[in-house]
Symmetry: C2
Subunit: 348 residues, 2 copies
DNA sequence: ACTTCATTTGACACCGGTGTCAACCGCTGT
DNA sequence: ACAGCGGTTGACACCGGTGTCAAATGAAGT
């Protein structure tokens, strides 16, 4: 940071670059945007001037001229603080060095004004693009809203959302199947399931994975072995109480996320059951909770940060290259993380 | 959303309002900024026009004209995802309806480029203000940076940071003292302590609170009863192993945050100690972990969301009222949350 | 040599606000 | 009647980029 320049603080503008390079500001604009049809000599002269002056385009001015903010929005309804933050990290990894900013916009999916809220936000901020996390990524209206506003978007989800769309998804169904297969291989025959909330694609996917594994092994799935939850701790506890109160009680439980798994743990401890001796338990997310509880929880790791990065890269890459938005899916593998909460069933 | 207007989509601009009200755009600008010295009649006419047209000022244009983005930045180095998110919520509560946007900027305090990073970010985005979370709020350079850039800022911390400054703080020292007093009242005489990382004001404050309580009760604090941690789970586990390996081992442990308390729990379970029968445990933060572990953790609740709201209100209020930045501290009480992890010591 | 045409570049308006400063208003004081 | 004055208001430039379109350039075609 040399302090000796003649105008000590003022940031150089496009005009400074233009006069230094002896061209018009429009030409400088062309250079910084990588516009075609410039002679090599001019381009180099301008680039030189940019370098010397340390010029950086002013995002506010661009935003005004383009009617578009150089920013990416993360729209979410707090599935889990850690998840959101991991996404933030991933997105920032992708947009680092790209002059884009990240804006985070939590919304309240239960509010009837949610869509208006998002709309007025997008209308105000006019970001380049939006990344939408589950569970609101499952609502088609938001995608439609973005489209109508000319905001690129990527929806993140647990399964392909719909085919004409831009999305980044993970293979959690498969990972759940794998986790349950492991339990079955250990000898478990009565496996309980704690479902996620109604209307969540992720919840449905995980349930499909569960059923697939049991059916493949020829195990029955009595309906009372499937308890309803809402992804929150408390719901996991009540689901656990319900499942563990059954007569031939399950020897293993798969909970659709870690918080609910922690709730099931509480229910087990309330009954003086030991984990994994009396009950094996598997969660989903690999949240901090999974390592904090005792015994630590076998769970499925969501490739969150990678998903965030990929989502942002789709958005940004296409934007910077002035390409049409590419419609390809990205599908990332979820991964089973084995910890201390599972063991063969007591009978075995 | 009536669709029948003549120019279906275009947002009304200040010019539309001006011509509708029969005044110049400058006058409209005065109205939306609450400038003094306007006749009541004019003001009302303009306000009427604004209402009819549903005019909202364009933040990008303002940003360009003012050289200032209508946004507040949250600068943090992820003390804890939940904490950050609670702050986000609090800030959003405060800036709702204020035309301001929230930008979140995580930084890496371990990176030598951190300050440059923040500087270039502020120079690029030129936000109205910044809210800085601990631990980086303790670094005076960041405040200086903001000052030199004309960015208002509020530092959030566990104790008064320095007096000429704008900060929002909580009384965690007092809350820790209170928590320890409770342990002492239960009959605990050997109380261990897991310290936060070196150089963190919050860590120092909590330790002061711990010592204050023990000294007031005339209890000795042998240095081996104070173990070093870094606010992370793993460090809590090793600190716990160390403390529980002492010969007359502590009958209670205060850990400077919940994650480390969870680590101490693991250490206790590894030795087949039961909580709270053999060991009482208190954490700090009231993070989700505190409720997820078994037994649930007695802890100190940080008024995080309120702090975020207050911090943002300081920033925004002063800005909107065009006041000079008010230098008053805000001090919020932390609160003890009693759960299942404490009991009288075994001897009693 | 003179069109013709593609390539490269620049002049200028524009995006939608805000700051500056001067003009205008109606009143007062002499 | 007129200078002086405070309260209102508007004309205009400006913030720092981008889009449009035409001008300048130079090579190719006849």
């Amino acid at each position: 940071m040399p302090l000796g320049s003649s105008h000590p603080q003022r940031k150089p503008t496009i005009n400074d670059v233009a006069s230094k390079a002896g061209v018009s500001k429009k030409t400088v604009s062309r250079v910084i945007n990588g516009a075609p049809g410039l002679s090599v000599a001019t381009r180099e002269r301008v680039e030189q001037a940019i370098l010397v002056l340390g010029y950086v385009p002013n995002p506010q001015a661009r935003a005004l001229a383009l009617g578009r903010n150089f920013a990416v929005v993360l729209l979410h309804d707090n599935p889990n603080a850690q998840t959101v933050q991991n996404f933030e990290r991933g997105i920032l990894d992708a947009i680092r060095e790209s002059e884009l900013a990240l804006m985070v916009r939590p919304v309240d999916r239960r509010s009837p004004a949610m869509l208006e809220d998002v709309e007025s936000f997008l209308r105000q901020q006019r970001p380049i693009g939006a990344i939408i996390l589950p569970p609101i990524s499952e609502r088609d209206e938001i995608g439609a809203l973005c489209r109508s506003m000319g905001v690129r978007f990527v929806r993140v989800g647990s399964a392909a959302l719909d085919d004409d769309d831009h999305s980044v998804t993970s293979t959690d169904r498969i990972a759940v199947t794998e986790a349950c297969r492991l339990l079955i291989a250990m000898g478990h025959k009565r496996i309980g399931f704690v479902r996620g909330p109604q209307g969540f694609r992720s919840a449905a996917e995980r349930e499909l994975g569960f059923h697939a594994a049991l059916e493949a092994a020829g195990l029955p799935v009595p309906s009372e072995y499937c308890a309803q939850g809402d992804y929150r701790f408390e719901s996991g506890r009540s689901a656990g109480r319900q499942l563990l109160g059954l007569d031939p009680r399950p020897t293993a439980v798969f909970a659709s996320n870690d918080e609910m798994a922690a709730g099931v743990m509480h229910a087990a401890f309330e009954r003086n059951l030991q984990i994994p001796r009396d009950l094996s338990l598997v969660g989903f997310d690999d949240s901090p909770t999974a390592t904090h509880v005792w015994p630590s929880l076998t769970t499925v790791r969501w490739p969150i940060r990678d998903m965030g990065m990929l989502a942002a890269e789709k958005l940004v890459g296409d934007f910077l290259l002035r390409r049409r938005f590419s419609n390809d899916f990205v599908h990332l593998p979820s991964e089973l993380v084995e910890r201390a909460s599972i063991a063969p069933p007591p009978e075995a």
